[in-house]
Symmetry: C2
Subunit: 218 residues, 2 copies
Amino acid sequence: MTKRSELRRYPDRGSHDASTIHAILDAGFLAHVGFAVNGQPFVIPTLYGRCGDKLYMHGSAASRMLRELERGAPACVAVTIIDGLVLARSAFHHSMNYRSVVAFGTARKIQETERILDALRVISEHMIAGRWADVRGPSEKELKATMVLEFSIEEASTKIRKGPPIDEEEDYALPFWAGIVPISLSAGKPEADPKMRARNDVPTYIRDYEARLKSNRS
Amino acid sequence: MTKRSELRRYPDRGSHDASTIHAILDAGFLAHVGFAVNGQPFVIPTLYGRCGDKLYMHGSAASRMLRELERGAPACVAVTIIDGLVLARSAFHHSMNYRSVVAFGTARKIQETERILDALRVISEHMIAGRWADVRGPSEKELKATMVLEFSIEEASTKIRKGPPIDEEEDYALPFWAGIVPISLSAGKPEADPKMRARNDVPTYIRDYEARLKSNRS
């Protein structure tokens, strides 16, 4: 652990514990990846998958982000899950309930076809478990157009806030409504592609997706 | 518009149109802010409010992010709204439906108390409209402990993907289920702080919050 992942603000909300880091990374699926080019920072949203302390990301071989990262530039990956609004009696103590990871490390491009396929499977299964076995896999041409990066987490920290608002002692007598409004991602009814020729039923793993989102709630 | 906000990948999904940028910023409420310190990128999640081409952010006067940004360091602010999983017949054409903004600019610290209060109100009303009039406002001591930044958007781009998967022509005959699974944020039932003394009803603007989230869906 170095200065860059030191928990300065609200250290009581923070941790460097690997199992907490992994649990948040597994509950989320959208990362915001930061890198700098000549001092100019970029932040790009991307999907990911996790295996141990590695995150896998993919995209076009022409992507600016991936081409910068594969050079080994220092990167920062943030994953944030919103759990609720925290409505205190004072404006000052308003907050969010959330779980977040900020991870530092570097990425490298995966070269071997077998490992590329493994990583793509990890990303796909992280997005929606069960899908990888139920699609046409990548062709040679598609693999050539795809860059897959392995981001090694060198250090990371988490922050978690949960529970009701914490107000100043004298403010508890104020008449304002206080509490939390839970917020979470939820899935709507799957919408079949109008161009689908076979009238397939929605597969179980897709119908189960809403339950997966629910299980990721705090 | 310069190289940094050039739309290289899927330019047909992208835009530099101000009204599109503003609509996405108004529909989201969580930003990921990127900045670099000696080449090391940081990405920090934060709430924000918008007024014109300015974003307002606040936090502790001791926050690393705010102290770096107030020096005028180049920053990148990303706001991403997930609208759904896009399940294609081929692994390669899987995607997400989403709306995102990547904005570049610099921030400055707001010094004048009146403008600080205005900015805090904008952030609060962006989080949940109606709340600012229903709380104890910031004390002098609280204002001293709070730093408020005005981030001026110098250039920005949006990306939007919507609609069903787009597959290779020959893949439409494959038997896999294809379509989208809509995803959105939703609010649960407000949970009163157990320490609330008056048995207040949940105010209308809090009961309306779920409707606000719904109205932000694509």
